[in-house]
């Protein structure tokens, strides 16, 4: 018995000595490495809203990820790509729980997520601490890429996004309201989500900066169906434009009930990418005609090919993407896979070594990447830490009869940044 104990102790000590020695021989990265054994797959994870009312955004993103993996025949560096799916429910606590499960799995090289900015605030501290990186295709809240905590920034190293920052979107809405609509007074409505609140505040500040008057700033709650109380209050404040960057279906209820609210019958409405989907106008009916939307503007042949591939493969069982961020997810996944490809080193024993800091550096170095969503360059200015989208793939759309009656999508563009530049000249 005593001898067995001695042997075990010696074995343990040997093992203890050999492990760091082994690691040292392979991994030189300050954040550690992902080691992929010869026959193992390369693992990436998704943290998306897969259940709850926002789950169709998750399905949209997941489709983009799956098609990006499929675009490489499911292989990277001669190995299978494995996707681990986690659910974040579009909420901070969901993001936190999902991130904890992901961080515990050392084989995961990188994460695509989250669906909602709120979930990212719960997930990012954990993902960042674990040395991983996360690329979001739909978080647009400005705080996530702002590293100045005094301004409410919540940036964590390792966070990147291919979705546009709402600083671009809110400024665009305000500029359009003042320069094209000639609006003098605006009312803004959010729903308490960090994304919608952030966007409403950005738009209001930009609008005020252009000498407009912000006459009402209010909020609805998620799950509200009866908007008559807030609409009555908005009508009493007398705006020229109501800016409501909230999610569907609350935005649908607001627009549809505004048409029956005395004093708001002829006031223009503007919403944002949280409502940017093909069902919005048909769901509302006639009242949707004339509603303005700011949202992602993705076009080009590559995108058409992507849509054709979607129709053929039907990820999630749908013929077409259910929302507007699938292309961003496709680009994000490709950036992640490219980065892995660039930094991975195969050792003599066939083990693949992926340095975690090297992976982040490779992402930060992305410049002029031609993606479906336009040219991506990951930036580092204090306000845009990790922002890879440059705000060019955005436009103002106007819903018309074709959207209401035939469900035509996307709606016609009435304004984009190139027109803004032309105006300035």
């Amino acid at each position: 018995m005593k001898r067995l104990f001695l042997v075990l102790t010696v074995l343990c000590m040997l093992l203890g000595l050999s492990v760091p020695a082994l690691a040292d021989s392979h991994c030189m990265d300050e954040l550690g490495c992902v080691e992929v054994a010869p026959d193992d797959p390369i693992v990436i994870a998704s943290i998306l809203a897969m259940s709850g009312p926002a789950s169709f955004y998750g399905a949209d993103t997941l489709g983009g990820i799956e098609l990006a993996i499929l675009g490489r025949d499911g292989m990277l560096l001669g190995r299978d790509i494995e996707l681990v799916e986690e659910d974040s429910y579009c909420a901070a606590e969901g993001g936190q729980a999902a991130a904890q499960r992901v961080a515990a799995d050392e084989s995961i090289a990188g994460v695509i997520g989250t669906t909602c900015s709120g979930a990212a605030q719960g997930a990012m501290p954990i993902i960042s601490e674990a040395g991983m990186l996360m690329i979001s295709s739909s978080n647009t809240s400005p705080s996530l890429t702002n590293d100045n905590a005094d301004e409410g920034g919540t940036y964590y190293p390792g966070y990147f996004r291919t979705a546009h920052n709402d600083l671009f979107q809110g400024a665009m809405g305000a500029k359009f309201a003042v320069e094209v609509l000639m609006a003098g007074a605006v009312a803004t409505v959010h729903d308490g989500d960090p994304y919608t609140e952030g966007l409403a505040v950005v738009m209001a500040n930009e609008f005020a900066g252009l000498n407009g008057e912000v006459v009402f700033q209010g909020a609805v709650s998620k799950g509200d169906t009866d908007m008559s109380a807030i609409l009555t209050e908005i009508a009493a404040s007398g705006p020229d434009l109501v800016y409501l960057p909230v999610f569907t279906p609350e935005s649908e209820f607001l627009v549809s009930q505004a048409a029956n609210t005395p004093g708001l019958e002829n006031v223009r409405m503007m919403t944002a990418d949280g409502s940017f989907n093909a069902d919005f106008a048909p769901n509302i009916g006639q009242a949707a005609a004339g509603v303005l939307m700011t949202g992602p503007h993705v076009s080009g042949d590559a995108y058409q090919e992507f849509l054709a591939l979607w129709a053929e493969e039907q990820p999630g069982g749908t013929d077409s993407p259910p929302s507007g961020f699938h292309a961003h997810a496709y680009d994000g996944t490709n950036l992640l896979l490219d980065a892995i490809e660039a930094v991975a080193e195969e050792m003599d024993d066939g083990v693949l070594i992926i340095g975690r800091q090297a992976l982040r550096d490779a992402m930060a170095a992305v410049e002029d990447y031609a993606g479906l969503t336009g040219t991506l360059t990951c930036q580092e200015a204090p306000l845009y830490m990790g922002d890879c989208a440059t705000g060019t793939a955005l436009a103002v759309f106007e819903l018309g009869e074709a959207q209401v009656n035939e469900g035509a999508w996307p709606p016609p563009i009435v304004w984009d940044l190139s027109m803004a530049a032309a105006d300035d000249m």
Binding site: S51, G52, P53, S55, F56, A59, G192, G218, A219, V220, S221, G223, D224, T225, D226, S228, A229, I230, T232, E233, A235, A236, T248, P249, E250, E252, F253, S256, Q257, N260, T261, P262, N277, D279, P282, N283, I284, G285, Q286, G317, T318, P322
Partner: protein, 354 residues
Amino acid sequence: MFKWKTDEFSWVDFTIDVLRVLIVLGVVIGAWNTLSSGRISLAQWVNLFAAGLSQGSIYALIALGYTLVYGILLMINFAHGEVFMAGAFTTVFFAEALNRTGFLNEQPLLSILLMIIFAGLVSMTVAILLERVAYRPLRGSPRLVPLITAIGASFFLQYTFRGLYGSGFKAYPQVKMLQGVISVGGINIPIVQIFVFCSALVLMLGLYWLVERTRIGKAMRAVSENKEVARLMGIDIDWVIMFTFGVGGFLAGSAGVINGMFRPQGVNFFMGFIPGIKAFTAAVLGGIGNIPGAMLGGLFLGVIEAIGPNLVLAGLGIPGANQLKDVIAFTMLVLVLIFRPQGILGERLAEKKA
């Protein structure tokens, strides 16, 4: 009132009385500030009231399902919101089909009637299956057991319907006949709100007739009074309980269609959650187990929710008053539980059930 003055002094009674005075003061001051500022015109108040009444009649229809089941089984069927969703979500496809063929706008009343019956039958089926599969095997177990089962059943139904119809948002087609407003003395009331209120009223009267005037209604009342004695009288308890679930389901399904006429958007697998909780609040407000109470509680809750934020909270200078609409609803619930636990109309049940 002011029990602590007469009885032996108790801090609990004292605190409750102070709370009572503060609430009354808050409501009076808030309302006074709002009304004297003239920010909202009389016509707008009437509009808010009418919208609240319509919303309230939908709550009332769902609340009846809670109250009927509670009256008979003394259990809260927390999956009832999902029964509502089942009817509303399924019928959206039927409504779209009617709209495509043009039948919806040619024969609007007949179409709506068909939709109500269709949704009612779907929800009825779901409610009966729910009773048969999830609740009947647990009858006689401690009261917490069916309650937890109901929560599980609620998730099960949500994600079953998500699997069936997907996770996107649908909307009911708009019926041309119900668009537009009726003007009464310069006040415009949307026709759809009148329709919602009237059709809910018809359904509620129908239920009242069923419970008070028919044989099965008498059996329902008997089972609610005392199950064992009812059994001895030759009433098939299982059948009556199933029937009660069915009736509650039918009302919830028809509420789904009426809700779809009133608020066409936002139809998805999650849509039953909030109305379910609100209707439960309405049922408790009116006195759970009491049928007229559920109707009154629903209407009351709808109106308070519509008027409360603008009248009281905005007047007290609380920012984002409209976002606190749900706070008003659930504060009402808490207040009722503190001051009048038996609800507005009281629980007309045998003593030992309370």
